[in-house]
């Protein structure tokens, strides 16, 4: 049995975690922690309930700067119409996470800090160059999201540190993003492969692009060389194919019940091509604003 500590301020939370390092675990939505406690994956004397720290929840969009509080519910991301238009990958990732019940409870910070390799939100945030804000007894710091992940279930947070927010840039125009995933079942399944892509377009040329992968390496991956394959021209089947091949080469999937390593690599290549295409259609205004893509990105008119 764990005791419960309910801090009313961030300072109180951080102070308690610091003075109880090794024996206290934060709990936000609890959808991971409660299971870890039950299975014995986590043993702790204290649960530190973050849910009273209301200031850590919220979606703030100011021009091109988006700030998401760590306690923001996945459901709140899913139903935000501004994000559907401007940061579609985030909404496409949020809507496939668990069930309505799970999304209503689960927080963004919990999804990142649990560091599950197949977690939905990291790839979608990585393609927006997300930076995480961290509070600890020694003060605040920030780091690129990619540097938060240390391995399956492990982050680079020091004992006592809390994630407070995620900051990202979402371009106001001529930009598009997309998150797709492959699963064995359509819902209530973890990603076999998760892929996010984003790009900015000037005239008919892609001037900046990002590709990120989930579930195919010990940590979520950014693949710069895949994105570089499409920069400098309009998106063509050939440049998308090259990006897909580079992404497949960069990942290191395992074989498990959700697919063999070879299958996953093949799926990475396909999903990267589809995600780039949809991001391109969005960036060039050829996609209905706010309309989400099919979960696996398969479009009816796509050549076989």
């Amino acid at each position: 049995m764990a005791e419960l500590f309910v801090p009313q301020t961030l300072d109180e939370a951080v102070g308690f975690l610091e003075s109880h390092a090794g024996s206290a675990t934060p709990i936000a939505g609890g959808t991971d922690v409660m299971i870890d406690l039950r299975t014995g994956g986590v043993r702790t004397e204290w649960l530190v309930d973050l849910s009273s720290l209301g200031s850590l929840a919220g979606i703030d969009l100011d021009g091109e700067q988006l700030r998401l509080g760590a306690l923001t519910k996945i459901r709140a991301l899913e139903v935000d119409s501004r994000l559907a238009r401007r940061a579609t990958a985030l909404v496409e990732a949020a809507r496939v996470l668990g069930s309505v019940q799970i999304r209503t409870m689960a927080t963004l910070g919990g999804n990142l800090c649990h560091a599950t390799p197949s977690a939905e939100m990291p790839p979608a945030l990585l393609v927006h160059d997300a930076v995480v804000e961290i509070a600890g007894a020694a003060g605040e710091r920030s780091l690129p999201l990619a540097d938060l992940f240390a391995g399956p279930g492990r982050t680079t947070l020091e004992p006592g540190e809390l994630l407070t927010a995620v900051r990202l840039r979402i371009p106001a125009s001529a930009a598009g993003s997309c998150y797709l995933r492959q699963t064995v079942r359509w819902s209530m399944d973890l990603a076999g492969v998760g892929v996010a892509a984003s790009m900015e377009v000037d005239g008919a040329a892609i001037v900046q692009a990002r590709v990120a992968l989930g579930a195919v390496a010990p940590v979520p991956l950014i693949v710069p060389e895949a994105a570089e394959a499409v920069v400098g021209s309009e998106l063509s089947p050939a440049t998308a194919l090259e990006a897909g091949a580079r992404a497949a080469a960069a990942c290191s999937p395992i074989s498990d019940v959700r697919g063999s390593a070879d299958y996953r690599r093949a799926v990475v290549s396909i999903l990267v091509q589809r995600a780039l295409r949809i991001a391109w259609l969005r960036a060039t205004g050829d996609w209905p604003e706010g309309l989400l893509a099919p979960i696996n990105g398969l479009l009816a008119e796509e050549p076989a």
Binding site: M1, A2, E3, L4, V6, I27, G30, T31, M34, I35, L37, R38, L47, D49, S51, R75, G98, S99, V100, Q101, I102, T104, M105, W186, S187, M188
Partner: protein
């Protein structure tokens, strides 16, 4: 540790273990056994209740975390002992076989109908995707929700 909880409009004060789940509190302490104890891993939805009108799985919810908020269980839907229109539609459509998933299904569907009074079939499937039925009666469950939406729309 003391918890103070509002369930179906009634305020309860109880001594409880600090890490007690809402599900354990509802069933074992308050004896509201309509909410079912299924997988305990958030997968099956049999333990679904509403917190401030939003559906959650009570097996992963610490009771203490919902203090000051309004919890609605399946027992809170029927008024004065009479089934509400959604419950009645489950009965008339034969949408329960063993009935174990039914309270969770009804609570999830209730949350949907409050947010979207005239949902499409796809929206119903999505809203119920976190509720498993081992007897595989999904079609009749969806028929029941569609019928309830229709009858509520007609009554409004």
């Amino acid at each position: 540790m003391r918890v103070e909880l509002s369930v179906n409009g009634d305020l309860y004060r109880r001594e409880s273990e600090p890490d007690l789940t809402l599900l354990a509190l509802l069933r074992d302490v308050l004896e509201l056994t309509g909410t079912k104890w299924g997988c305990l891993t958030g997968d099956c939805g049999a333990c679904t209740v509403l917190v401030d009108g939003e559906p959650i799985v009570s097996c992963l919810q610490l009771a203490r975390q919902v203090e000051g908020r309004e919890v609605t269980t399946v027992e809170g839907l029927a008024g004065n002992g009479a089934l509400d229109s959604l419950q009645a539609a489950f009965v008339s459509n034969g949408a329960a076989q063993c009935g174990f998933c039914t309270p969770g299904m009804i609570v999830s569907a209730e949350a949907l109908l409050r947010a979207r009074p005239s949902p499409s079939e796809a929206e119903i499937r999505e809203a119920l995707s976190g509720n498993l039925c081992r007897c595989t009666g999904y079609n009749k469950i969806i028929d029941a929700v569609l019928e309830a939406a229709g009858s509520r729309g007609a009554a409004a």
